[in-house]
Every structure is written in structure tokens, then in C-alpha cells.
């Protein structure tokens, strides 16, 4: 059962704390869980795991390639390694190691990338992962997700543990908004319709879920009834939900804090064109590199705000 907060406000809990606490709870029950960090424990918020389980947490320094390779090896002995670093390093830097020693090798490894998209803010373009989800989505037989708030994170971490194989989990590490009421339950791989509507569907992931909810309100003021879907699992994508929304609302806008190339918009378009296509538009980074600045500026700069979504929805509706 999912319940959206009456008012979506900044969460009192940072995302990294929600993640780490959830992992600690799982590790208390499951001795197979171990962690590998790459000199970013303070940033990724995993210090408490090491305090709780000093014999099961390994900070191997600035060695992302080695971390992914070691994770594959550790998994082959029966453990469930969680690897933490920034999303840019967790994917583009070590793609080969994740492919070879984890995915192709059939190992049970979880990769967690912090600082999703524009949330990298002051670390700038070098550290701004717009490609991570697309890269990981291309890899065969893995699971890719981005929980949208701490409540969802708490619910999904146990499912990530239970999911056999490679899982890539992406998240902003600090400030996030609480979208869902405590106790809301989600199922990995199954999207949630969190606001009903009949004219168009806004399919969003991660921090864009809040923007999509805000956009739906803006559209409502203009007499447009927008449905909002939280597509927190990018792969495997919930095709049933996409097709249902296409059929029932006849238009779709996707919203993502990353490149529109091979991200959520691409994944949704793939489903639509193989079934019953409807007019659609994509909100996201338009094939550009990131840049430095406050997150709010970057959301504006890359067109990720509710106003951008609402404008895109109106454009798409003209093609309906």
C-alpha cells in the first residue's frame, strides 16, 4: 500500500542515512552482507556500517576497478557484497569490471552510486552522472533502480538484498524530499501510479517524482488532468504499467535527472513503439555534459523543473 504525503517536504533524514540504516538492519539478519568502499565512506554515508560490522566492511582506498573485481570474487564465495562510490565512478569508470567479474560472471553483487545527476552540484561536470543509468541498463540481465525517497529506500533495500544477481542502485546522497508516508510498501520492478489523471501520464524517476507531482498541480490549474507514475525500477521496466497508462491517458511525458539518451525516456519509448504508441515527450538532460553550481540552478539549467514538465506536457498534448 502506497500513501503519498499530503505535503511533500524536505525529508529530515538524508538519503545516505536511510540507505545505510536499512543496510545495517539487513546485515543484522544476514551475515552474508559485506561492503566495499573506495575512500568515500564519509561522502556515501557508510561509516556506520563499518562501526556496526568492522569485520564485514572493507575500505580499500581509491581503487574502484579493484573494488568491482573483488566484489565479484567475494560473491563467488557466497557473500553479498555492496560496493559504494560516486555514481560516475560506480558505472562509467568500472563498467568493464562490473561486466566481466560481476554480471557476465553471474555473481551476486550490488553496486550503489551516490550523487545522482545534478545532485553532484558543486563537484561539477566531472562528477555529474547523466549516463550511469543508461550504461547500466544496457548490461544484460541486471536490475537498475533509483528509490525516490527515504521511505521507499527502506522498503527496497531488503528487496535488493534478496534479488539475485547484479543490482545497480542510484541515489542523491544528501537532501531529498519525503514523498511517501512511513510504512508505504513498494515492489521492485513494479511501478506505482501515485496520482491519478486522464489526459496525460507523467512517468518519473528519482528526484523528478517530486517535480512531476508539482507539474501535475500546475497542469490541473490549467484544466489538464495529469497522472503521475513513479517508475523507480528502470530495469526491468514495468511495461504493463506503461501500456496501461498509454491506453488510458493517450499521452506520456517522461521525467529523469539524467541524459534522455538510453535513460527512462528511451526505455518507455521502447515499450510504446512495440505496443501501441502514443504521443510522448522526454524531460531530462538533452545530450549534454553537466556543469558546476547549486542544485536548484542546475535543475533550471537542464530543464528538470515542474514548469518544464508542465510546458512539455502541453506540447505533447497538441500532438494527441
Amino acid at each position: 500500500m502506497v500513501k503519498v504525503c499530503d505535503e511533500i517536504k524536505v525529508s529530515p533524514e538524508e538519503m545516505r542515512a536511510a540507505y545505510c540504516n536499512a543496510l545495517i538492519e539487513e546485515a543484522k539478519k544476514n551475515p552474508k552482507i559485506v561492503t566495499i568502499d573506495c575512500d568515500l565512506m564519509n561522502s556515501c554515508g557508510t561509516k556506520n556500517f563499518m562501526k556496526e560490522f568492522p569485520d564485514r566492511a572493507f575500505n580499500i582506498g581509491i581503487q574502484e576497478q579493484n573494488a568491482a573485481g573483488m566484489a565479484g570474487g567475494m560473491a563467488s564465495t557466497g557473500l553479498i557484497p555492496f560496493v559504494h562510490t560516486f555514481a560516475v565512478f560506480a558505472t562509467r569508470r568500472i563498467y568493464d569490471q562490473i561486466f566481466m567479474s560481476c554480471a557476465y560472471a553471474g555473481q551476486n553483487v550490488k553496486i550503489c552510486g551516490c550523487d545522482a545527476g545534478v545532485s553532484a552540484a558543486y563537484n561539477g561536470g566531472t562528477h555529474m552522472a547523466f549516463e550511469d543509468m543508461g550504461l547500466m541498463r544496457t548490461m544484460a540481465n541486471i536490475t537498475v533502480l533509483e528509490p525516490s525517497d527515504p521511505v521507499m529506500m527502506r522498503c527496497l533495500v531488503p528487496q535488493v538484498v534478496a534479488k539475485e544477481g547484479v543490482v545497480y542502485l542510484r541515489m542523491p546522497r544528501k537532501k531529498v524530499y519525503q514523498i511517501y508516508e512511513e510504512g508505504s510498501e513498494f515492489t521492485l520492478g513494479k511501478a506505482e501510479i501515485i496520482r491519478d489523471g486522464s489526459d496525460i501520464t507523467l512517468i518519473a524517476i528519482g528526484m523528478e517524482v517530486r517535480q512531476a507531482m508539482e507539474a501535475a498541480k500546475l497542469l490541473e490549474a490549467d484544466g489538464i488532468s495529469a497522472r503521475v507514475v513513479d517508475m523507480f525500477t528502470l530495469k526491468p521496466i514495468d511495461a504493463e504499467c506503461i501500456n496501461k497508462c498509454a491506453k488510458e491517458t493517450g499521452a506520456i511525458v517522461t521525467c529523469e535527472n539524467q541524459s534522455i539518451v538510453n535513460g527512462l525516456g528511451s526505455a518507455v519509448a521502447e515499450v510504446l513503439v512495440e505496443n501501441d504508441p502514443v504521443p510522448m515527450g522526454r524531460i531530462g538532460v538533452q545530450d549534454e555534459f553537466g556543469e558546476v553550481g547549486p542544485q536548484d540552478y542546475l535543475e533550471e539549467r537542464f530543464g528538470l523543473k515542474a514548469e518544464h514538465i508542465a510546458a512539455k506536457a502541453k506540447e505533447v498534448l497538441k500532438r494527441k
Binding site: 569485520d55 564485514r56 568491482a68 573485481g69 573483488m70 560473491a75 563467488s76
Partner: protein, 288 residues
């Protein structure tokens, strides 16, 4: 322990591995012959008694493990595994054929007895360190072995893995460097000279030694010596020749990957048998 080892038998086992390797590649018609036979002797030591394994239970949790990081030498490993009974000898005729369980590069998902998939050089070193650490975390006393190519040490990941193995004091980790002096494009010193590998690994915190890589008795004793050193990972540099024991391959300058048929392979096998009989096996143009 070495008093109980029949080194003549080990030498014969290495000859069988070498023969089945050249045959497997001969059946395929092409393959990575040079580096596949330069490791026949270390494979004979590992699978001829050093490793604690059970061919009837290849996934046995407490087994010793081998990561063949130079994954392109899969056929060499397949020969050893087949001879130990991990799978039928007939499979060796299927290397690289459609639907085979024996692809050119080692694949732990397909081949019984292969402990980790490898093929992108450097990856296996990290995986092996992960296996050694994972085994220790779970209180196991098993050993993790890994074979990297000498050219493979060009890869930075090998040195990341080495640094971590030393920092974590993984003394149940034994790394072999197949020092056969050549990589794909030519001799090491002409491509990217790695310098003194034994000293390099020692500087990284390893217990390091070099042995005659074609001599099963030296390799065995080298491993035994290594295991006496506590608190450090071990490296054993295998001083050998690319293509060793297969005359037509050894004589070829660029012998990383060669095309030849089963008849040519059988001629090489007959020569191996002849040398065994006259006591000159594995032959080779030794300059050490």
C-alpha cells in the same frame, strides 16, 4: 609434504596437460597456443595434488580455487580439468564450437571447475583477491591461486589488486606470473618493459620468488616455501618460454595465437612422448 610427492608423475601429468591442450586447439583449428602451454607445468602442480579440490563437487565451498586471470588460455586449463575428471575428455574436441561449454576464454558459468570468468586482462587478479578475502571472512582455511600473464601486468588493475592483497595481509593468496617473455604484439621489452617483476611485487609487500616455470618440482617446492611465510600474499614468477614444449609454436616469434590442425598437434604430442621417454621433456630453448 614434498617428500610424499612423486615428481616424475607430476612431470608426466604436465605432459598430458600439454598434449591435451595442443590437441584441443588443433581440433578447433586455431587458438592461444603460446600462453596455454607455458602454464602446463604450474597447472600440473596445482591440479596434480597441490589444490584441495573435488572434481565430483566442483562448487564445494571449502575448495582451493584458481583464477586464470589470463583467461585467453582457457584451453590449457580445460585440459587439466578434463584430465582430473571435471568433465568428459570428449569436450576438449568442442573448444570454440557452437554451443560449447569450453569457450576460448575461461567461463565459470559454463565450465565445471572454472572458478571465475576471465578474459578482460587484470580483472582476474581483483577477483582472486576478493575470493581470498571472502574465504577469510567466512573462516575458511583454503588457498586462492591466480595466474596472470607477464604482459597482463601492464594492466593497472593487477597492481591495485596487489596493493590490496598486501594491505589485507592475505597470506592464503598465491599469485603466479607466467613470465614467458612475450605478449601479443611481441617481446615484453619491445612493448612495455615491466622491469624486475619479482622486485616490483616485493616492493608492493609480497613474499616473492622466481622458479623455473617448466619444472614441476621447483614450482611445487616454491609454493611450499611461500606458504611458510605468514602475513603476506605470495607471488611466484614462473620463468618459462611461450609455446614451451610444442616445437612449432615455440619456434614461431609471434606465437600468441596460431592456426594449425589436429595432425600438426599430434606430431607435437609424439615429440612430447619421445622426450619423456628419453628424459629431455619438456625440451625448450632454455637460456636461463
Amino acid at each position: 609434504m614434498s617428500e610424499q610427492v612423486n615428481f616424475e608423475e607430476l612431470k608426466r601429468f604436465s605432459a598430458e596437460i600439454r598434449k591435451e591442450t595442443v590437441r584441443a586447439i588443433g581440433y578447433a583449428g586455431f587458438g592461444h597456443i603460446g600462453g596455454s602451454v607455458s602454464i602446463s607445468d604450474v597447472l600440473a602442480v596445482l591440479y596434480g595434488g597441490m589444490m584441495n579440490i573435488d572434481p565430483s563437487n566442483p562448487k564445494w565451498e571449502d575448495r582451493d580455487r584458481l583464477v586464470l586471470s589470463k583467461g585467453h588460455c582457457g584451453p590449457g586449463l580445460y585440459a587439466a580439468l578434463a584430465l582430473k575428471g571435471f568433465f568428459p575428455m570428449d569436450w576438449l574436441k568442442t573448444v570454440n564450437k557452437p554451443g560449447t561449454n569450453l569457450p576460448s576464454h575461461a567461463d565459470g558459468q559454463k565450465t565445471p571447475g572454472v572458478d571465475m570468468s576471465t578474459g578482460s586482462l587484470g580483472n582476474g587478479a581483483s577477483s582472486a583477491v576478493g575470493i581470498a578475502l571472502g574465504s577469510r571472512v567466512q573462516g575458511r582455511d583454503n588457498y586462492t591461486y591466480c595466474i596472470v600473464g607477464d604482459g597482463e601486468t601492464n594492466e593497472g588493475e593487477v597492481w591495485e589488486a596487489a596493493e590490496t592483497a598486501a594491505a589485507l595481509k592475505l597470506d592464503h593468496f598465491v599469485l603466479f606470473v607466467d613470465w614467458n617473455k612475450k605478449q601479443l604484439d611481441g617481446r615484453l621489452e619491445d612493448i612495455l618493459d615491466p622491469g624486475d617483476l619479482e622486485e616490483k611485487f616485493r616492493a608492493f609487500g609480497f613474499d616473492a620468488r622466481t622458479v623455473k616455470g617448466y619444472d614441476t618440482e621447483e614450482i611445487w617446492k616454491g609454493i611450499e616455501e611461500a606458504k611458510k611465510v605468514e602475513g603476506k600474499p605470495h607471488v611466484i614468477i614462473l620463468d618459462t618460454i611461450k609455446g614451451l614444449g610444442i616445437d612449432f609454436a615455440e619456434a614461431e616469434e609471434f606465437n600468441h595465437y596460431m592456426t594449425f590442425d589436429i595432425e600438426k598437434a599430434e606430431e607435437a604430442c609424439a615429440e612430447i612422448d619421445r622426450r619423456l621417454a628419453e628424459g629431455t621433456y619438456p625440451g625448450g630453448d632454455f637460456k636461463w
